[in-house]
Amino acid sequence: MRQPFRRLMLALGCVLALAAGASAQTLRIGLAEDPDVLDPTLARSFVGRIVFSALCDKLFDIDEKLDIVPQLAASYQWSPDNKALTIKLRDGVVFHDGEKMDAAAVKFSLERHKTMPGSNRRGELAPLSSVDVVDPLTVRLNLSAPFSPLLAQLADRAGMIVSPKAAQAEGDKFGAKPVCAGPFRFVERVAQDRIVLERFPNYWDKANVHFERIVYLPIPDSTVRLANLRSGQLDFIERLAPSDVAQVKGDTRFKLTKITEIGYQGITINVGKSDLAQKNPLGRDPRVREAFELALDRDGIVQVVMDGEADPGNQWVADTNTFYAKNVPMPKRNVERAKALLKEAGVTNPSFTLMTPTTADAQRIAQVVQAMAREAGFDVKIQSTEFATSLDLADKGQFDAYVLAWSGRADPDGNIFSFDACKQPLNYAGYCKPDVDDLLKRSRTTLDTNERRKLYADLAAIVLKDRPIVYLYHRHWLWAYTNKLDGLRAIPDGLVRVTGLRFR
């Protein structure tokens, strides 16, 4: 009897809080989608990571410059052969259920990520072979081979530590009542309606938590999301539509933050996924792909598709990233050269189908690309396909070219390995070259940043010439929020960090 009553009271409380409007202690965030399951091991959506950043602390985090900073970790050290990472944990950290966050909990969580059926973290932690508890506050992660993206992985869901007691008790239902060590703890979730979190009084950095509650409200329509902000029912919205930027800028009640994403928007070309690749000049001949890229004006695409709210880009990372390969700068549009290349390749009026998901910006990309490529002699046929179907077709290689975006990972490896290494799950292009594979593997086993930079420059020289993906731009994360909100940190992963946030 007691449980339902408590739940009723909690529900009542938060509903009243919602109805009462702007309670100074509640931060109401409008999300663009409804998150999937709130279990760090099973979770798979971008939007879920926004909620996790308030709910589940990670061993590490990334900062504004994409540098790795400790979170639940206090410090770390690589072994001389780079095959073991020893992490000292922050002392005195407890989970939301009062259990201690210690080495045993870290071992449990990492092993759960590795072994739980259906885990989406297994691939991210593939080289992790075992975890040793050195002492209550020290763990050692043993790797089968050096793995440079490991820290970045541990700064995302793979580094989220869950309460072993709760995880064992709830099993695969843990996501319905997640228990972690973040600044806010889980209160309730009504699917497609709201997720309510409340301040965790025993948080290790409680001085930086200034809200009693956070309510996440998924509102898919960007116009309605903005209307809710303007009518005062939300304090913060993520993913403002680029076309609404001017409206928000013109209103003194609101502030706007723009961050260049760590992901990209691009066009994947079938260069070897199926027989179709050989049947089409675009997939068959790198010169035709070069001509295609030269026919495109990235600045124009960004203007038309994104209202200027993106940075044109020609690589898997933006040019501000430390791993951007300066040896392959962004080519300028050159229709004459494109025509000459087509002539050289012996094809006149090459024709191909550009498959695109039905989202508005993907559709616009297809239309602009079609118009630009036509000037160089390309005949582009647009095939709008519902997203799930398009993925299926891409996976089966039933496409010539495909408009596809990637949300990005903090380490460049997350933006290229799975796309360009042979037979990887996201390699829809069907690209496979032994020297590229070798460079990709070496970039994973090299921990030195300068050396990795060189490897990525070598990779860029090959991959950007072969063009399995023609990169177009890096979108801006657009956040609009009440001007009363202070302390917002613009981290390029597009996830809202709630510590430090407060109302003026």
Partner: protein, 314 residues
């Protein structure tokens, strides 16, 4: 009457079986691999393999169907893989919301549609008639999502009278509930009112020109009684069917309206489920709505029989 009822109810069983096969088969025809969609951005092959096994996607079609039916017969509609909640719980959570929205919408539709239809039939060719027709045409041709956004901009953003979106349970705060429901219910009711108005008008016109109405008038029955008691009651039969069907449509999800106003009802549930290939949810919700539809049709048939004794025999 009893025999009629029994016969009517007996036809439900084969209809439901057929509907369940259709729902399941159509779902399988959807292009796109559900395991791949559910595996998220990374699409780890191990995860995909695990999902295939969980969803029985590695089994042939009839086996999968039997798995599902076995669950349904035991009251288990399966579990949403995306949200990790039993479909039954999701339906129980969303149904009252959609039901409330549908009820308010249908009340609005009836309150506008029937009087408007009666007036425009009785005052045929007058300004009232043309006015009502223009309004009906407007109601029919205005897209729900556009009207919704316009209402939000007017009443929430500009005037600040009503919340822009969201849902509050009436048991928690009935005022907040009503404030949240009035705009979406009006948007939905507006479109249905137009349909009801046009049907009421044509049914009334037909009835008003019939012999018994002339007889009633000749007998000296008051015009008000002629219209309300003699004409409207007879004209109501097609309106009842239409009302029941429209109500059924509302239950199956006022998809766009719920999306615009972020009402966590059936429409949102099913749209998200289709795009995410959350098969169990789609099947469960569609089966539930199909059943609701069939039952509503039955209720309409029974109401016919009540309104028109001749039908009890047939």
């Amino acid at each position: 009457m009893t025999a009629y009822l029994v016969r009517r109810i007996a036809t439900i069983v084969p209809t439901l079986v057929f509907a369940s096969i259709l729902i399941f088969a159509l779902q399988q025809l959807l292009p796109g691999d559900p395991a791949m969609v559910l595996a998220g951005e990374e699409r780890d092959p191990a995860v995909i393999a695990h999902l295939r096994e969980t969803l029985h996607l590695d089994q042939p079609f009839p086996v999968r169907y039997l798995y599902w039916v076995r669950g349904v017969v035991h009251g288990d509609l399966g579990e949403s893989l995306r949200m990790q909640q039993p479909v039954r719980t999701l339906i129980a959570e969303k149904l009252p919301v959609t039901l409330e929205l549908a009820c308010i919408a249908i009340v609005i539709a009836l309150a506008i549609g029937i009087p408007a239809g009666v007036v425009s039939a009785v005052r045929r060719g007058s300004g009232w008639d043309y006015g009502a027709n223009v309004v009906a045409l407007w109601g029919l041709s205005t897209p729900n999502f556009w009207l919704g956004i316009m209402l939000i901009l007017l009443f929430s953003v500009t005037l600040g009278w009503l919340p822009a979106s969201g849902y509050v349970s009436p048991f928690d705060d009935w005022r907040a509930n009503l404030a949240a429901m009035i705009m979406p219910a009006f948007v939905l009711g507006n479109a249905i009112a137009a349909v009801l108005m046009r049907h009421t008008r044509s049914a009334m016109l037909q009835v008003l020109s019939s012999d018994y109405v002339r007889t009633a008038r000749a007998k000296g029955v008051r015009e008000r009684d002629v219209i309300l008691k003699h004409a409207l009651r007879n004209a109501l039969i097609p309106i009842i069917t239409l009302g029941a069907l429209e109500f059924g449509t509302l239950l199956s999800g006022a998809v766009l309206t719920e999306q615009v106003f972020t009402i966590p009802g059936f429409g949102k549930l099913i749209v998200d489920a289709v795009f995410n290939r959350d098969f169990a949810v789609v099947q469960g919700v569609v089966l539930f709505t199909a059943t609701a539809y069939i039952v509503l049709n039955l209720v309409a048939d029974i109401l016919y029989a009540v309104a028109n004794p001749r039908m009890r025999v047939g």
